[in-house]
């Protein structure tokens, strides 16, 4: 394949270096003409003229980049620092007496190490250049330095080919040399083009150094011994090398102009390019499959699709990071709760503060301090990460698969925030949005106002209150609302006794009962220091709170602490009736993706009902969890797939069944919209319709709740039979669940009529399917369907259909099925086969003492608000059909097949019965 190259002139002939900015938005080049040029990498700006900076007086030798700034240095001995975004000259950091060969930023960006034409390496504090640490040991001029990505070590190479490793935080204090690798690299002179670049693998596990025999030596961390050699690839000495951002690949350049890309795991070259002249600078794009290099002609080349990923199924050079870049650490540890948009910003603030503290430390031990600050920064963020259990040991593992952040179902973030991540005054966000009502908070600067609004105002009155704790989480149940906030140390305020309360505000929970005046109960609890609320939910009997101490705390609605148990890495909780659905991280899947598990728990009897794995569509995250109105656990992922936990009360029988595909529905309707779930009915999803891809969350004023009919992702949904099949399977799932719930709560009698009706409905669907099968003369299919019929009289109807289609053998089979299925049962017209067979023989069922089907909406069949051009007509048609059917079936039941009356019509062969009966 011809490499896709984009070449452009950058500098005058001579040694030219190149570096991507940390975000990859620009390429910085510098050359012997003492100019710095900044090229934008965005597609539309790529061909625009570069920004030129003229601050140096002689050839530039090195560029170092960090998050917000970059530094350059060259033969004139000065190190200049520039702002990344503005490209403004910030300051001149160092004026050295000799030419500077290489500079390197520490991972926090607080220090710069400088290798100049001297034996001593110098380390400068970026913010206070009076703090300098000389690092002495090399016997020849130093050519290259680089900081360890973890900030523990510094490596350097010198003209005589010696490589040294320096411990920045040694036991003796200060910097000491921990390893010397004499003449591992080829010896050169200080002006040679062979840069003897030493470079850490981005995960810090090893570093690469060009070897003597045109090879590359990989030196392991800790042992400081060669662990691998990349050889038989280069025809000349290596000038420089650069690791791909995730450390999977190493790019090398030689004096003959060869550029090679090495796959580190296989230790072989995966891509090669021959440049016209010696390549002097290399830099990988931080996120893309792009390599930029510069040569002695002063040309800058960007090589796209460097790694031929398609051809050889190779991993990406930058994605699936094994890198510990601090941006990612920030993102990972700083951003804890998605809906609370302020988190991420705060994380970065912490980092900056750490850097700032480090400036204030005094000369002697600033290195040590900085070290602490670095580690401290990571440690400080760790408790916020959800994968807290093994966070300290496997930072890299976490980075492989950023775990899903905890969330409250039905909450949204603030839309507009200031630079510090705090919401603007008057900003509002939803804390809870479900079938009972809505809780939203309005930020007022010093406090918030919390509003609770109900859909059904005849049962509960809306209320609002001033909230001085800025509650950030809430859950709304039928009996009460519960609020919670994490611990904070931002605001000092007076407590009830009028004393100043310095320090941290503890994390707290506040419950408020709904309804009558008599039980106008409210209570609040404070969590101890170091324990914070992560997620919470409320059902008809209890309040369930997950905390950062890996506890699940269960309170009764009156505030009695009734249970506590351990469950770590919580993501979300939903609750209904006396059940709770707890979703938590269960480790990492085979492809490095986060693996979620769920637990259905009875908060009244304190028993685990079901334990299962949460499954999302590939690459998606869970966005909503909840219970349907009939207490069926449900979850919705970011691709719009809604699944329900079928057979939740049967030990080890539960499976997640997809019942709705939001993206497919939107596609069918031809609209760019998605559905934000609010609740789930028997056959419909209650949701907010959000237009546009960017519109992630519902806004204010409160949008209208729409209901859309569920549809399982069956194949060939365009045919009539598949629609019937889907409808039958879905109704069967819901009906089986409802029967289980009724049994578990000992309410079979109460719901017998509703459940029998469901059987009749299902049989109607099945009979239509039998009719289709008979028409197509697929008798085996008809037999399969007949086996699922619930009522014996439905089988009679099936016999009639078969007879009508002149399939006597099939009719005989139907009769046999009827005999085997219903002979044993005494009252065969009323008892469904399901009850008589499956339930009685089924495994034990977990029972509940609270009704889980008591919702008013549980068995409602509302008209869907979408897909209904004329709802009324459909209704009327339905009513007529039902009337017809009931008449027909009633009269038909009297006529046993084979009776004289029936025979007449059969002989006549003119009977339109089946089509009329069944449509």
């Amino acid at each position: 394949m011809k490499p896709s190259l984009n070449q452009r002139y950058a500098h005058a002939e001579g040694h030219t270096v190149v570096k991507y900015t940390v975000d990859g938005s620009a390429i910085i080049t510098a050359g012997s003409d003492s100019l710095i040029r900044v090229f934008k990498t965005a597609k539309d700006e790529r061909d625009a003229a570069a920004t030129t900076i003229d601050k140096h007086s002689e050839a530039i030798q090195s560029i170092a980049v960090h998050r917000s700034s970059f530094a350059t240095a060259g033969d004139d001995g000065i190190v200049c620092v520039f702002g990344n975004s503005t490209l403004d000259f910030e300051k001149m950091l160092v004026r050295s007496i000799s030419a500077v060969r290489m500079i390197s930023y520490s991972p926090t960006g607080s220090k710069i190490a400088v290798a100049s034409d001297e034996e001593t390496i110098r380390m400068f504090n970026v913010n206070d250049i009076s703090i300098v640490i000389p690092i002495k040991g090399h016997k020849k001029f130093v050519k290259c330095v680089e900081f360890d990505p973890k900030g523990d070590f510094l490596i350097s190479s010198a003209c005589d080919g010696e490589v040294r490793v320096w411990d920045l935080d040694s036991a003796e204090g200060g910097v000491s040399c921990v390893a010397t690798l004499p003449s591992i690299a080829p010896s050169t002179d200080q002006d040679s083009n062979i840069r003897a670049t030493v470079s850490w693998r981005p995960n810090g596990a090893a570093f690469a150094v060009p070897g003597k025999n045109k090879d590359v030596q990989l030196i392991g961390r800790g042992t400081w011994q060669p662990i691998a050699v990349l050889k038989d690839g280069h025809d000349e000495n290596i000038t420089t090398l650069d690791w791909s951002p995730n450390g999977n690949y190493l790019a090398t350049a030689t004096t003959s102009g060869q550029v090679c890309i090495w796959d580190i795991s296989e230790k072989e070259i995966v891509a090669k390019y021959q440049n016209a002249i010696e390549v002097s600078g290399l830099s990988w794009h931080p996120t893309g499959n792009v390599l930029a290099f510069t040569d002695r002609y002063g040309q800058m080349t960007t090589w796209e699709d460097v790694v031929p990923m398609q051809e050889k199924t190779l991993p990406h050079p930058a994605l699936a990071h094994a890198t510990i870049s601090h941006e990612e650490v920030d993102e990972l540890f700083g951003e804890r709760r998605e809906p609370n948009g302020s988190r991420r910003q705060r994380g970065i603030d912490d980092m900056d503060r750490d850097d700032g503290e480090d400036n204030m430390s005094d000369l002697d031990d600033f290195v040590i301090d900085d070290e602490d600050a670095d580690i401290g920064a990571i440690r400080q963020h760790q408790p916020r990460s959800t994968n807290g259990a093994n966070a300290s040991t496997s930072v890299i593992q976490q980075l492989l698969s950023a775990p899903q952040q905890p969330f409250q179902s039905g909450s949204t973030p603030y839309k507009h925030t200031n630079d510090r991540g705090e919401p603007l005054e008057g900003e509002r966000r939803y804390l809870a949005f479900n079938m009972v009502g809505v809780i939203y908070t309005i930020f007022q600067g010093t406090h918030s106002v919390i509003n609770v609004e109900f859909h059904d105002k005849s049962q509960n009155r809306n209320f609002h209150f001033q909230d001085y704790f800025n509650y950030s989480m809430a859950a709304l149940g039928k009996k009460g609302a519960v609020f919670a906030v994490e611990a904070s140390d931002s605001v000092q305020r007076e407590n009830d006794e009028g004393e100043e309360q310095p320090g941290r505000n503890p994390s707290r929970i506040y419950y408020r009962a709904l309804g009558g005046l008599a039980d106008n109960a409210e209570w609040s609890m404070r969590l101890p220091d170091g324990e914070e609320v992560i997620a919470l939910a409320v059902n008809d009997v209890s309040v369930i709170v997950a905390t950062s101490a890996n506890y699940i705390r269960i309170f009764t609605l009156s505030g009695l602490q009734v249970h506590i148990f351990n469950l770590s890495n919580m993501v979300a909780i939903a609750a209904a009736a006396d059940l709770a659905l707890l979703v938590y991280h269960g480790g990492i899947g085979v492809k490095g993706e986060p693996k979620l598990e769920c637990l259905v728990y009875n908060t009244d009897k304190m028993e685990t009902i079901q334990r299962n794995v949460m499954v999302t569509s590939p690459g998606a995250t869970i966005q909503w969890i909840g219970f349907s109105e009939t207490s069926l656990p449900a979850s919705c992922d970011s691709n719009g797939i809604l699944s329900v936990l079928f057979k939740q009360r049967r030990p080890d029988q539960a499976t997640w069944v997809p019942v709705f595909d939001g993206s497919k529905v939107a596609q069918e309707r031809g609209l760019d919209e998605h559905y934000w779930p609010v609740g789930l009915l028997r056959d419909q999803i209650m949701c907010l319709v959000l237009k546009g891809k960017t519109n992630q969350y519902p806004a204010f004023p409160r949008p209208v709740i729409s209901n859309i009919i569920l549809q399982m992702p069956f194949l060939h949904m365009d045919t009539e039979t598949t629609k019937l099949e889907e409808s039958y399977v879905r109704t069967n799932i819901m009906s089986t669940h409802e029967r289980d719930e009724a049994t578990a709560t000992s309410q079979e009698d109460e719901f017998h009529k509703i459940l029998s009706n469901a059987d009749v409905e299902m049989d109607k669907t099945l009979l239509r399917l039998i009719q289709f099968a008979c028409k197509a003369e697929k008798s085996q299919r008809a037999i399969d369907i007949a086996k699922s019929l619930h009522l014996s009289r439905s089988l009679d109807a099936a016999v009639k259909i078969a007879t009508h289609h002149r399939m006597p053998a099939l009719a005989e089979r139907f009769n046999q099925i009827k005999e085997t299925k219903f002979m044993s049962s005494i009252n065969d017209d009323l008892t469904s086969s399901f009850e008589s067979q499956t339930l009685n023989q089924g495994p034990r069922i977990f029972s509940s003492s609270n009704s889980s089907l008591s919702s008013q909406l549980a068995f409602q069949e509302p008209t869907p608000s979408l897909f209904s051009p004329s709802v009324r007509n459909i209704k009327l048609a339905q009513r007529k059909r039902d009337q017809l059917l009931s008449q027909d079936t009633d009269s038909d039941m009297d006529n046993i097949p084979g009776s004289p009356a029936r025979k007449k019509t059969r002989e006549g062969q003119a009977s339109p019965i089946p089509s009329r009966t069944l449509l």
Partner: protein, 187 residues
């Protein structure tokens, strides 16, 4: 009837609005109630937050008592009205509109201004649509010829507006044509 002749020949706008009250519309009630039984039919049940289909008159009555929020019909959005106006301007024929669109729009804007997003814009669009259609109606007047007149897609209110003039004009034209024919016969 004791009403003046002129008024007898057409409905008053209030009467038409009353007739439009039988159109169905979705509401989200904020109270729970079983089916409301009426002589002819029943409406409901009302189970918030589920939508219920009720006639417009009931929706208006409930809304006035703050017992529900009205879900504006699909055509009654900024985008759809914009498209309708565009269609109206591009073609010489009348665009297809709901038969009672003016009455429904009027009632919704009157009772539920808080539930219609971009209400000012919608008001302007409705005015534009109406003006555009009125212009077409005037053009139509020139085509009255006494034999036949095609009035597709006209709404109830518009028909009512033109009824006295058009029917009178039509009758006169027919009379004239009849005379014309007679003249021919006489000759």
């Amino acid at each position: 009837m004791a009403l003046p002749q002129k008024i007898q020949r057409q409905f008053s706008p209030e009467e038409i609005q009353f007739i439009a009250g039988n159109e169905f519309i979705s509401i989200i009630p904020n109270f729970t109630l079983d089916k409301m039984e009426f002589i002819q039919t029943s409406y409901g049940p009302f189970m918030p937050p589920l939508q219920a289909q009720v006639p417009l008159w009931l929706a208006v009555a409930l809304k006035k008592n703050r017992k529900c929020s009205i879900v504006p019909p699909n055509w009654f959005t900024k985008d759809n009205l914009q498209a309708l106006l565009q269609n109206e301007e591009d073609h010489d024929e009348f665009a297809k509109v709901p038969f009672h669109y003016m009455e429904i729009a009027h009632m919704l804007i009157e009772v539920a201004p808080d539930e219609i997003p971009d209400i000012e814009h919608i008001r302007k669009l409705l005015k534009d649509i109406r003006e555009c259609r009125q212009r077409k109606t005037r053009d139509l007047l020139g085509k009255v010829d006494g034999t036949r007149l095609e009035l597709h897609n006209m709404s109830r209110m518009e028909l009512n507006e033109i009824r006295p003039l058009f029917s009178a004009a039509f009758n006169e034209m027919t009379k004239l044509q009849f005379l014309d024919n007679q003249d021919e016969v006489m000759e």
